[in-house]
Symmetry: C3
Subunit: 301 residues, 3 copies
């Protein structure tokens, strides 16, 4: 199942595979293992892969790129999303003595060029500014992004974790439209459903990407009251629809009218399949609200 | 006193009579009693009546309609506002097992057609979406609303309890403008005066409707500190202007530049008259701020 | 260093001198002392002076005007900003029995005419509405402002302490653009950097003015944990860059891409010079975030 991310955006798959935990894979990170997961995704219609320069301590892009190099025809069957702008204090970046952001022209261009080398590709489908910075200079960032798009190194520009105000501000400086906002979206975080974040995406006719669809695992294993209540409902609905509880979570996200693109973080092919099952499941409206009530702890007003 | 609700909106009366407590009327709900209250409103220039499908356990519209049937000429002298979208768990709706919202095409059209039958009329002047839903599909709702307007069943579309972000999002899908936002407005709830809700109405050139102008009675009988402080000021101003304290509350709302349309909820004709007295009373600016200070507990910054 | 406040706004100096503490000057307020401070500013390229009708208990404008009268050629070398709308309870305004706001046509016009007399000038460069009022009638205020601009008494209109929603609402009624929003800006108040206030200025292409750049002295002498942490970093950076810690604060504000115009409040010429030194200092990005982290108490996400 393929969708347009934005009126002038790329075609992507409805589910996105995120590599941010690739280094934690108990079965390793050699090209064959990575290719196996990529192929498992492709077999399920998942063609869009979500990266960031910093994932895996600045290593994940490169591991993915090494796999792509072994199968050069693969690149054209995929869409690659990556991110830039977060400056970690990390051995790989000894010049960073404090965590900060950098959206200077020099850093943006250098970061994209490094990502291209890492990913063994000559273009990024969607480049995301990873987090809003209180020091983002929109004119300077826009000029660098314009150049990267003009050179074909970046096909589309998006943002991540931006408020609508930050989005609109940056958009007013960019010559091309912002094609997505990737935010944390799951039942235990109802705020974006109410505070204007998803309304803003709907108004802009762009599809939000949703990170941590299972709340980083909390939904399945967390010990809090909200986790417990929600899990109970998810189990009941899993039983009703004949699927795993986590499939219900993906179905819950997919049911939202903003057409959320959930980003899966698992390293287990069977759990990728479990997510993909949600694509053919249409959750009943009252069931949707049952998850909402369990997660928020109250019925709607 | 009549006003335009929006540049392309209906003419309405400055005060609106709300029927949501009609079933609690100690003197009953037979057509003669209802007609008596309608006539009391008309005599005071109040021609706009505020309904919802759910009021009185899905019964109020019907009781009002029964009264209209006894006097068929009355309809054209009134403006009828009604609402849809809240799905209560109630014996009258056994299919609802959890409180939720429904703005699907099927439900919107069915709900309006039921309201038309209940109210014994062939058009609704203003249909409001009763509450924002985290699951509202704006494209689907807009299509249903477009159809209802085209068929003449609904003359104007509005919303209730929407944030500016939710309003703007929906508006971007509708072919006709949203003509009002009905929100809870009274001195004990200063938020909408500061958080952009009323600024948004002013910017859109639409008049807000204000529900619970007396804070559901709390202003007159509540035991909290804010209630006590505010009541003391209202009594003092009532004495100064020679009116009842509740008349001061209506005058306070009417004084706001957004031209709030307060929705009265009383079943007692003498209290409708008490509200109407506010139409000829212009509250002094410092008196307005005295109510504000008492209600918020601090002077302005 | 001169900048345009807005595309259709006035040219102003990058640092603004604020007179609100003029009456506290231990060396007095006679015209010679005032002229001395004005000359100290001009020598440093500071040509813009920030007033308000209420400063010094409604006295500061007049003291400044008395100084201007002794040197009539001076006026054309300065830009004068003043404000209106706050109604204090003060012996000079016995009719005010409660602190409130007044943006009625009559008050706006009367307030500006009084400011012109006080300041011994026939025009205000920028008139600011001092605070948003829950009772501001934008149509009435806009009409009065239009008249004042047409008569040449006010050259540009701005606001102070407005939210973006309040700004946009008022702007939609004004025939001329709002050229600035003066808000409280310093490291101990990170909200405007995140909540859309500065994003809104960037989007409108207007420069924000920043009041209390040293947090009213708290940054230099406050006893809280955030103050202590921040002061330590400021001292370290002062040492690194060879300037006073307060120069680092001004450099921190000047480094922001919204091109904040800090409003200095000191009466000591040597501290005006200390601020002006920031104009030639470019703070390193990581140093900027070190101040941010100390002030907020956490690293960025």
């Amino acid at each position: 199942m393929r969708v347009k991310m934005a009126p002038q955006g790329p075609e992507v798959s409805r589910l996105v595979y995120g590599v941010w935990r690739m280094q934690e894979d108990a079965q390793g990170t050699d090209p064959q293992r990575v290719l196996g997961k990529v192929q498992a995704c492709l077999d399920l219609g998942i063609t869009t892969f979500d990266h960031a320069d910093i994932y895996g301590g600045y290593r994940c892009e490169e591991l993915f790129g090494a796999a792509l190099r072994t199968n050069p025809g693969l690149r054209q069957r995929l869409e690659l999303v990556t991110k830039c702008g977060i400056m970690l204090t990390h051995p790989a970046r000894p010049q960073n003595w404090i965590k900060h952001y950098d959206y200077s022209r020099q850093h943006l261009i250098g970061s994209v060029e490094q990502s291209l080398r890492n990913l063994a590709t000559d273009y990024i489908d969607v480049l995301l500014l990873h987090r809003p910075s209180p020091l983002l200079d929109p004119a300077e960032a826009a000029e660098a992004l314009r150049l990267l798009v003009e050179q074909g190194k970046v096909r589309h520009v998006g943002v991540s974790n931006f408020t609508p105000a930050q989005f609109d501000m940056l958009a007013s400086y960019l010559p091309t439209p912002i094609v997505t906002n990737q935010v944390e979206l799951h039942p235990l975080r109802p705020e974006p459903f109410l505070d204007g974040t998803l309304d803003h995406c709907l108004r802009q006719r762009i599809l939000p990407m949703g990170w941590s669809p299972l709340a980083g695992g909390r939904l399945m294993t967390g010990h809090g009251e909200a986790e417990g209540r929600t899990r109970e409902v998810l189990h009941g609905l899993g039983h009703k629809y004949g699927v795993a509880p986590e499939t219900i979570v993906y179905a819950w996200l997919l049911r939202h009218p903003s057409r959320i693109l959930p980003v899966l973080g698992t390293n287990q092919p069977e759990r990728i399949a479990s997510a993909a099952r949600a694509l053919s499941l249409s959750l009943d409206t009252q069931d949707w609200f049952a998850v909402w009530r369990a997660a928020t702890g109250t019925e709607v007003p």
